[in-house]
């Protein structure tokens, strides 16, 4: 009874250590070790980590694989871009246009008045809310329609993929309202603060880290709440959960919306740090790539998602600087390797090979070894054949990397 009775706070000791280590790496180590230029890259990568975080909850815990997370990343990014674009399109900045005061791409498309749905984005508060709520609302509509009718697994993946395709075509096709394939570019200031300077980018990096840590805490809270256990239970035996009196669909809708909002926050931070937003994030390819960040980090590990994102992107950048032709081989190989050989990603490797040696150092790890021997899965066994790929270590797995 020792463990089950000792949980009053939602973070276990090893979680706290993991978060502190991550915070230390992001706040102290990386800013000191990297020059400003590389640090800005890290800031950009971290925005993808928000998506990966959402996928851990949605895919890893609840077993819902969405191939349309780019849509939410994009929606969040576009909301932020609309605000910034309006600020950049003041009447004096745009006086050479036929209609001054509206974004340049609208003017090129013979639009003479700001469309109604752009109007509220003059307001930063509304924009911040929209970043979180618009994607969540969209996810709610999609999720509600599909989960209520028990569409799941492969079908959900394919339909979300189709949604990503539709969204891309729409954004590109409605260029008068969206900036088309070029996206919304040339963003300059946030409430008068120039976001293009190096000092601003540094500040934004730390804001991004702060938000990410906050979102990690939210993810931990959800994961360690009863809801987190219900998600795992649902992935395993959906019917049993239903016949324990739970409305399974509403839990799925919740976690899908949460993942959407997390992605959208990432998208908004991306727009702020990189200075533009374009439909190339919304499509199928980026959406699937974001899944691989999660898979590499460990689909069940919240902190693993962050490390996985950083690792893949770092590899992508350095690989493509040296051997651009080989990068696709690397990325493709990564997909296959992570599925065939390391279904639990970095977190799984950590747990199998590193954590056992750290046992005495961590209170939590030591406690785990105190569980009956039968509870410790044999090291490095292939995953049990329970779809969708429930790993042998299950909920215990994330503990290690964290």
């Amino acid at each position: 009874m020792s463990k089950s009775s000792g949980r009053t706070f939602f973070l276990r000791p090893q979680d706290i250590i993991g978060i502190i280590v991550l915070a230390f790496v992001l706040v102290v180590v990386l800013p000191l070790a990297l020059d400003n230029f590389r640090l800005q890259f890290v800031g950009k990568y971290l925005t993808y980590a928000f998506v990966a975080l959402g996928l851990v909850l949605c895919w890893g815990y609840a077993g819902i694989l969405s191939l349309g997370q780019g849509v939410f990343f994009g929606l969040g990014g576009y909301c932020m871009a609309m605000f910034l674009k309006l600020e950049a399109s003041s009447v004096e900045n745009t006086k050479i246009q036929t209609t001054p005061g509206i974004p340049d791409f609208m003017d090129w498309n013979q639009i003479t008045a700001l469309p109604w749905f752009w109007e509220p984005f003059h307001n930063l508060g509304f924009t911040a809310l929209a970043v979180i709520l618009v994607p969540a609302l969209f996810a709610f509509i999609v999720g509600f329609a599909m989960f209520k009718r028990r569409v799941g697994g492969v079908y959900f993946a394919i339909i979300t993929q189709a949604l990503a395709a539709i969204m891309t075509i729409l954004i590109i096709g409605q260029q008068g309202y969206t900036g088309g394939i070029n996206g919304i570019t040339d963003l300059r200031t946030l409430n008068g603060w120039d976001i293009r300077t190096d000092s601003a980018k540094t500040v934004l990096y730390f804001v991004c880290v702060g938000l990410l840590l906050a979102c990690i805490l939210v993810a931990y809270f959800v994961k360690s709440s009863k809801l987190g256990r219900i998600l795992v239970a649902m992935r395993d035996k959906e019917d049993r959960v239903r016949f324990s009196g739970y409305d399974v669909a509403s839990f799925k809708v919740f976690v899908f919306c949460l993942a959407a909002s997390l992605s959208a926050i990432g998208g908004a931070m991306f727009t702020l740090q990189v200075g533009f937003m374009s439909p190339s994030f919304v499509g199928i390819v980026p959406s699937i790539e974001m899944v691989i960040y999660t898979a590499v980090g460990g689909r069940l590990s919240i902190l693993g998602a962050v490390y996985g994102t950083l690792l893949v992107n770092w590899a992508k950048t350095s690989f493509s600087e040296s051997f651009p032709e080989l990068w696709l081989f690397g990325l493709g190989g990564l997909f296959i390797a992570v599925v065939l050989a390391f279904p639990n990603g970095i977190a799984g490797l950590w747990q199998t090979y590193v954590a056992p040696h750290l046992g005495p150092l961590f209170g939590g790890a030591a406690k785990r070894t105190a569980t009956p021997p039968a509870a410790t899965p044999p090291a490095a066994t292939p995953p049990t054949p329970t779809p969708p790929a429930a790993p042998p270590s299950g909920t215990a797995a994330p503990a290690a990397a964290e």
Binding site: S4, S225, L227, V232, A233, R240, S244, A374, T395
Partner: protein
């Protein structure tokens, strides 16, 4: 059974009233115009050859399968119109034929999830593992002989223990109607004995529907037995009466 004999007034005395229930899959009537009634605190055993529609009846009651026609009334509430989780919340518990537990979670967590609180999304987020929860889990764990295994991941339990765990998950909900689908199937002799003992303690103060093949076991627990054959009731009554029924003998023993 002739449904017209039963009046609405009489319904109130029954915990469960199934009337004129029919379900067809692509024209095949798995359950055909079925009617039966379960009293308060009654233990009803449904027997019948394979394919008689036993499991389908349970599926219909708990909402897993939707009836084509007919009604299922539980304490005067129409179940055919309700969703699965609403039926559970109304007080109907169901154990599946194969042990259906959460292998990735510990025994404690398995029972905790079944604890009938925090069943909505916000409820689950704010659910706290307070003393009452722990006490109740401990109590149930002792009943199902798993008090020592609370921190064990469920996938490492034996088959019999998994069956007990699932029964425990139902008990913690304290349902008024408990439906068990072959609770002793695949068990060793000693496990079977222990299970019979378990069932005898848990069937108090609730109605129970059990599907079982093991006649010895049925004889031990049944108040009343319903024999299903080809989706219809072949015979109903006490074990002795059913065993004497020539129709039953014919179905079971052949011509």
């Amino acid at each position: 059974m002739n449904t017209s004999v039963i009046t609405d007034a009489m319904n109130k005395d029954f915990v469960l009233a199934v009337e004129g229930l029919t379900v067809s899959f692509d024209g095949f009537k798995a359950v055909n115009d079925l009617s039966f009634y379960v009293d308060e605190n009654e233990i009803r055993v449904i027997i019948g050859p394979n394919g008689a529609g036993k499991t389908t009846v349970l599926d219909l009651i708990c909402g897993r399968t939707k009836a084509t026609t007919g009604s299922i009334r539980f304490k005067d509430r129409e179940l055919t119109k309700m969703k699965e989780h609403e039926i559970v919340r109304a007080g109907v518990g169901r154990k599946f034929q194969n042990p259906s537990i959460y292998e990735d979670l510990t025994v404690f967590e398995n029972l905790e999830i079944s604890y009938p609180k925090g069943r909505s999304v916000p409820g689950a987020l704010t659910f706290r593992r307070d003393a009452a929860v722990k006490e109740r889990v401990q109590e149930i764990a002792e009943t199902i002989f798993l008090a020592d295994q609370l921190d064990q991941r469920a996938e490492y339990l034996s088959h019999g223990q998994k069956q007990w765990l699932e029964i425990g998950m139902l008990l913690i909900q304290d349902p008024e109607l408990l439906m068990l689908d072959e609770p002793v199937a695949g068990m060793s002799v000693s496990e079977r004995k222990k299970t019979a003992e378990l069932l005898n303690t848990i069937i108090k103060n609730r109605s129970v529907i059990v599907i079982e093949h093991d006649m010895k076991f049925v004889e031990d627990i049944a108040h009343k037995v319903t024999v299903l054959h080809q989706g219809k009731i072949l015979s109903e009554g006490s074990m002795a009466k059913v065993q004497a029924d020539p129709k039953v003998i014919e179905v079971y023993l052949g011509h």
